[in-house]
């Protein structure tokens, strides 16, 4: 009996020391990582917007100078507007063994059509977006740490103040002339094809024109588009639809008089 009690006693002492040393060494390990000036960092991100897809790639590195492995590192970003979640992104689970450096990149891309279907104003109106960022990782496979924060960011519309003006019928050339203008307030270059469809008052298609866009950030687009239309279907007024990569971004009535 005494030997059993003595064994239990030693087991308890060993486990107590382990239980208290483990969090302490984990804390020291974390401090060692954070003490390094270049422990975690991001490099210059690249943002592109072409063919209806928005892509962001943010290269980053994690230098694990601690004693324990960092595992299941995950970053989740939720983008919302007016209590509606527009997009959710999550990185794959990464591992950084002790004494190594991880070089990776946070890549996210989304189809503009899906986002715009939830909030069409994003393409034409500047607004404020809610960002919810959360990071999670495990250290030594026994302790998990998570940090999350909410913030707001301003969104610059890529087709701000999109206007169709000076719609006129040219008798000599038998063409409609349309002036299309907008400002690119977004932080990326707008690249893609814009389609202008002209319908009569009965919503029958009478003409269309496609034009390629390459509008840098913070610049004005102003172009005169000339459409050849089916005269037999023409009415005094009609409707103009503008699509960008198959997403309708404007619908406006016009009068040909």
């Amino acid at each position: 009996m005494r030997q059993v009690i003595r064994t239990l006693n030693w087991t308890i002492i060993f486990l107590t020391v382990t239980t208290f040393l483990l969090p302490v060494t984990i804390g020291i390990s974390l401090l060692r990582i954070l003490e390094q000036p270049n422990a975690i960092g991001f490099k210059e991100p690249t943002v592109s917007f072409s063919n209806g897809t928005f892509s962001l790639s943010a290269p980053f590195y994690i230098n694990n100078t601690g004693y324990y492995d960092l595992s299941d590192i995950n970053v989740t970003i939720l983008i919302g507007r007016n209590n509606t979640t527009l997009a959710a992104f999550s990185s794959p689970l990464l591992n950084v063994p002790a004494g190594t450096t991880l070089n990776s990149s946070y890549d996210l891309s989304f189809d503009i059509e899906k986002i715009v279907s939830k909030s069409t104003e994003l393409l034409t109106d500047d607004t404020t977006l809610n960002l919810s960022i959360s990071t999670f990782f495990e250290i030594a496979y026994v302790m998990s740490l998570g940090v999350s924060t909410n913030m707001t960011t301003s969104w610059g519309a890529p087709f701000y103040n999109l206007t169709v003006s000076e719609v006129s019928w040219n008798f000599s050339t038998q063409e409609f002339t349309v002036v299309l203008s907008f400002e690119n307030h977004a932080c990326f270059t707008v690249n893609g094809t814009i389609l202008l469809e002209m319908c009569n008052s009965r919503s029958e298609l009478i003409g269309l024109i496609e034009t390629c866009l390459d509008v840098p950030s913070d610049s004005l687009f102003h172009d005169v588009l000339k459409l050849t239309v089916d005269r037999s279907k023409m009415t005094d007024n009609g409707i103009i639809h503008i699509y960008f990569e198959n997403v309708q971004i404007l619908e406006e009535w016009f009068s040909s008089e």
Partner: protein, 150 residues
């Protein structure tokens, strides 16, 4: 000697034995309480700011530990001592689970929300308490087997 005199003598004898034991138990419990209070004074300021509930939790912990220390000391040499040892281990297991919210602590600091999960470490702590309870049971069995029969 009359029966009343015998009874008076045994009460005196009991008091003579008990008072030093109670005094020793009080001193040890006071020292334990003072140590806990001192450690609280050292770490409370940042802890309360981050985790306001910690003050109440620590008060419960301190009073419970002081109570068990006093009880274990005062009942030294009796079977009750082992009952209190088992009770203390059981209390610590329940307290650790409750105070750590099942091994997941959540703290709000400025605009950030931190969550710390340590379920494997908590399991180890609970295992420790279970081992302490088992040890208490074995010690109680040993004590009863060694005690002279009435």
């Amino acid at each position: 000697m009359s029966e009343a005199e015998v009874e008076d003598m045994s009460v005196k004898e009991l008091l003579r034995k008990s008072i030093p034991r109670i005094f020793r138990a009080t001193v040890v419990a006071a020292i334990v309480g003072a140590c806990l209070l001192f450690s609280w004074l050292l770490f409370s300021a940042p802890l309360v700011r981050l985790y306001p509930e910690s003050q109440l939790l620590f008060t419960i912990f301190t009073w419970a530990i002081v109570f068990f220390t006093f009880s274990i000391r005062v009942t030294d040499g009796t079977i009750l001592k082992y009952c209190f040892i088992i009770g203390r281990a059981f209390f610590l297991a329940m307290y650790i689970i409750y105070a750590t919210n099942g091994g997941i602590l959540e703290i709000d600091f400025m605009n950030f929300h931190f969550s710390i999960g340590f379920i494997p470490i908590l399991s180890l702590m609970v295992l420790l308490s279970l081992l302490a309870m088992a040890k208490g049971v074995l010690q109680a069995i040993e004590f009863t087997s060694e005690s002279p029969k009435d």
